[in-house]
Subunit: 313 residues, 2 copies
């Protein structure tokens, strides 16, 4: 299939594997790229040198289109950007910040820039500053999350009505039914995190992958409301955070104290169930197996066609 | 169109107008019924005698199928049920509680019973105890809301996979795009609140209707997390509640103190912007006019067909 998103990103299928800390290195990104979707290296958990290594390995492992996701709030953002441009990456997904400060550099190097937003205002800002597309991410998504708590179902049509550039839907989507729903709402692509985190090529710890498979519909929680919201599995650590937040409220200082002890690494990469932060979305309840990334892409496209045929027999 | 939901509820279109306190009396319910969708009288803000009056007026105003929504946590629930059965209402939507205690009475009177749920466990319980269908309501919905904060996009497919009875999707849906998305996820009907609250036949205050039209994507908030969550417009009162909850946490006693001063009546029925609770969903950002209920039904069905044709050209 061909649409504005497949053309922009030079992919066969309008599916983007989200850049995820401790999950999406060169193995996952190249596997997804080779399956005809867009693989993204998640730079969020990488120092500049490690990012360079992952880009080079991806380039060796696939001839297909791939990209890098960078959180703009990183202190070493300029170094990360230098690595990306030196290694001639042509697709950049930016998140957690405003892309306006960096976009000229990317555009001068011929990059496609896609920015992740969580409300209409951010979408309009991204469009005005020259982004080629946006990812609109709902409250149900895993990991870091917007302050406004707008869900995918409510967010996508409102953003589609507001901007002219293509909208990629993220949050709560793990199969072809969700993909069809996103397209019905006006999206032209989907970004999938949690489903790809539970794949053989994901670099996360096996226990974390298993926890995604075991998770039920209500097993994730959002914490640090109104500060820096994050969605993760309700494990002993996150349950404690939630309890404290509900009973006493939460401050930025207290959040930094709780959160900044390598919690994501502990949970996702080291498989520390008690003390780590196992980021995942509400779609974890739809994930029932750990398979190859290609299997996910193939299944989603098959279900996408089946769902459309169900709607229009 | 015909499916399990239209057959069960004896309606032309698989659209249900949600029962809403201070909004959906006989005028709205009969207008929706006459338009071929299901109108629901919202008993939540009615004493038994007033409910009887509204049922009788609806019966006079339409020959079509209509129903009553009752929150099961009401202290006078037995009286409400007696009125409903005496007045021979044949469609009951139950919410806020477990339908098991009352279902035999309804079934013995030949009623169709539909229960509102917010997670998979509640859906399974409703099915086991004999409900004919369920409404699965996501986090983005206005008014009272589930504790698990599961969004429509994530909730519907998980519930559809778990139960055999028909699933009606609610939360975040205000047009035919959302309706098509809900059907893609596996729903066989949609329950629409906020969009019908901003109609000519809605009994809410004009200022409240206008506030729905003016609301943008991030203008509603959920408060009383982990106690009795409620979504409403972020007005001066709700902003104060949110601030207190975020900074100090919230207890049930404090919630009762804040909430129990006729806040819903003040906000919705009296149009008190400063002190009332103006319950509405995140789909308020998709509502741009105040029109007749029939116009909403007609538009949704037209957009539903258009969206399906866009997906399968």
């Amino acid at each position: 299939m061909t649409n504005r998103v497949t053309q922009l990103l030079k992919i066969n299928f309008p599916i983007i594997q989200a850049g995820m800390v401790w999950v999406s290195g060169w193995k996952l990104a190249s596997a997804v790229a080779n399956a005809g979707a867009l693989g993204l290296i998640g730079a969020g958990s990488m120092k500049p040198d490690l990012l360079r290594e992952h880009i080079q390995k991806t380039t060796t492992a696939t001839n297909k289109s791939f990209g890098v996701n960078i959180p703009l709030l990183r202190g070493d953002i300029e170094e990360l950007i230098s690595v990306i441009l030196e290694e001639k990456v042509k697709i950049i997904f930016t998140s957690a910040g405003h892309p306006g400060r960096h976009i000229e550099k990317f555009k001068n190097s011929g990059c496609v820039v896609v920015h992740v937003v969580a409300n209409v205002k951010q979408a309009l800002k991204a469009e005005v500053c020259g982004c080629d597309a946006i990812v609109a991410e709902g409250f149900e998504a895993g990991g870091h999350n917007g302050l406004d708590e707008i869900t995918t179902m409510a967010l996508i049509p409102q953003i589609v009505d507001a901007v002219k550039i293509p909208v990629i839907a993220a949050g709560g989507i793990a199969d072809g039914r969700g993909m069809t729903a996103a397209f019905a709402l006006g999206a032209e692509g989907v970004q999938i995190g949690t489903r790809f985190a539970a794949t053989i090529e994901s670099s996360a710890h096996e226990l974390y992958k298993q926890k995604i498979v075991e998770a039920n519909d209500g097993d994730t929680i959002l914490t640090y409301h109104n500060i820096l919201p994050v969605r993760a599995l309700k494990n002993p650590f996150m349950a404690e955070v939630q309890k404290e937040e509900t009973q006493k409220g939460m401050t930025k200082d207290r959040m930094m104290e709780l959160h900044a002890k390598g919690r994501e690494r502990k949970g996702i990469f080291e498989g520390n169930w008690e003390e780590g932060e196992m980021e995942m979305g509400q779609s974890s309840g739809l994930v029932h197996d750990i398979v190859r990334a290609k299997e996910i892409v193939d299944r989603m496209m098959k279900e996408f066609e089946e769902t459309k045929r169900r709607l229009v027999p």
